[in-house]
Symmetry: C2
Subunit: 345 residues, 2 copies
Amino acid sequence: MKQITVYDIAHEARVSVATVSRVLNGTAPVKASTRERVLEVINKHQFQPNALARSLIKKESGMIGMIMPDIGNPFFPEVFLGAEKEARARGYAIFLCNTMGEQEKESEYLALLQEKRVDGIVFLGGRINQVRSKAELARELVDCASRLPVVLVNGNMPRVSLPRVITDEAAGFRLAAQHLIDLGHRELRFIGGEGSVTATVQKVQALKAVMEENGLPFRPDTVLYGGFSIACGRSLMQTVLAEENRPTAVMCVNDSVAVGAVKAALEAGVDIPGELSVTGFDDTLLATSITPELTTVSQNSHALGEQAVQLLHQMISGEKGRKLTVLEPKLICRQSTGPVEIPGI
Amino acid sequence: MKQITVYDIAHEARVSVATVSRVLNGTAPVKASTRERVLEVINKHQFQPNALARSLIKKESGMIGMIMPDIGNPFFPEVFLGAEKEARARGYAIFLCNTMGEQEKESEYLALLQEKRVDGIVFLGGRINQVRSKAELARELVDCASRLPVVLVNGNMPRVSLPRVITDEAAGFRLAAQHLIDLGHRELRFIGGEGSVTATVQKVQALKAVMEENGLPFRPDTVLYGGFSIACGRSLMQTVLAEENRPTAVMCVNDSVAVGAVKAALEAGVDIPGELSVTGFDDTLLATSITPELTTVSQNSHALGEQAVQLLHQMISGEKGRKLTVLEPKLICRQSTGPVEIPGI
DNA sequence: TTGAAAGCGCTAACAA
DNA sequence: TTGTTAGCGCTTTCAA
């Protein structure tokens, strides 16, 4: 089953390969009648030019790589969707690389994508989200970025200056915290995430700032780390509910944790938002899956992916593109938060 | 920023390009000392061979395409995860192509992937899941499959015989239906899906069969089509609840619809499973996100992706591979189903 | 408006 | 054990 090539087409249409290439790409005028003839042969054989050969010579592959931690977390498919839409519009196909945040997989994929000569890489999670990450890992990324355009999404690496598209997560978290305080909550908790992950730390700091602004004490036990999954949210909430002096509001690092937290509370017979307010983060489809629906912060995940690819495309095209794009998050008030109950009423 | 090539390496290591290629691929013995020298130069320059050039000559690209309807539906990321794991183990990278079931996008991606010379394609949803699909679309797929390995996941096209990996969805649905009947339910409903989609029709027919086996009447109004989303589940449940004689159990085409349905019921003050039992399908993360947790049917989505890529790999390697792989679904009993309430007790 | 021919960066005979 | 060389299928000067 030999592949058909421009030579076969050229021969059958009695022209040269150059002409075939010209009608294929419209790079130079071709007499109408000749073009007709060539097109006919192309259609007849359902000829599809070999993009590998073309890429080899044009030095652009029309492929971009997207490295992300966990497509199983509903936030990431949404980012992908935004990225894909933009990519498709510009003729790129996307390699989706899932790393579970494992740095070894990140390294492997980084190398693989470079060998495949992708035109650029969008990088999410993992090493670009560590408070302290090994110099080795940073160097790898910088090295990669020296060969091809790389844009970071929702991350930041100490000592590494690469173009980024981010949501101002701290601002978003401040919104949610202030919302709770405005509702009368005085005793807040933060659950989920990891102290080693930038996105988590930013949120904790935002919470701390807002609490202090409002004259509320931020104690070390205000924060309970533990992870990003539903299961972890559930177990953390169980811990919180077992405490001596229960908080009236619990802020979760993301929607998944919030879902687990809400479930644990419901199981314990705690009324939400009557007795306890809960907030999520990201506004994924999980937020509206549960009852009560989650008050959460929208990152506009779709736009994040879209902007990242847009920027990448600019860089690929040799334009400068802005170093930093910040998307403003939005507080989405739903049913999981409410005024604090006045005891005795 | 000129790319480094085997020539540069060869020159600097004072050997021929053939030798460089040999140490790169281990295709022929190279004297240890020579290898050392070459490796050194390679490392020094962080040389990464151009996979495009290699693919061009080896006629294999190490890329596979995965076409699916909606990565935003939690079922599909799980399939992807299984596929990716298997792909990575065999050295492939995956192009993820999202079509929203639109046939035009499917066609575009099909063409794109062929041009890019992927080694094979995994196809899900859309045209392979239509009860009647245009001959044109079938031909396109067959055409594609005549050029490269294609495996269909959870689908089937009339008149098209391609290797498939599927879950026996009908069997799964029978399990769930029988479970409800065993719990004493006599008045069942099916909601969600589309009458034009095979996966939906199979489920409806399974339900019909089980009901008839158990001497229950299957009436046209047993079925309420409408789509696959949470929103649709919600509105369909509202319709059901407004009916004269409410059913005691509602079976949903998938977990998303079930989630919407449960929410609508809860909002209407209906107790689940006390007054109403609800089942989902797919056992996605949504099933355990809500309270009560969903009784549902597990498709083993991960295995689906895994097996598909495994089969694809066999085909790429020239092995035959089985025409049809059927995965057995499992009933997962959770909290959304229970015995029918005896009125008056 | 067209064709001849020189690569793109690699692998794999074939020779040595 | 190593080198020479002919492609893989395409685009793109350069010349006609």
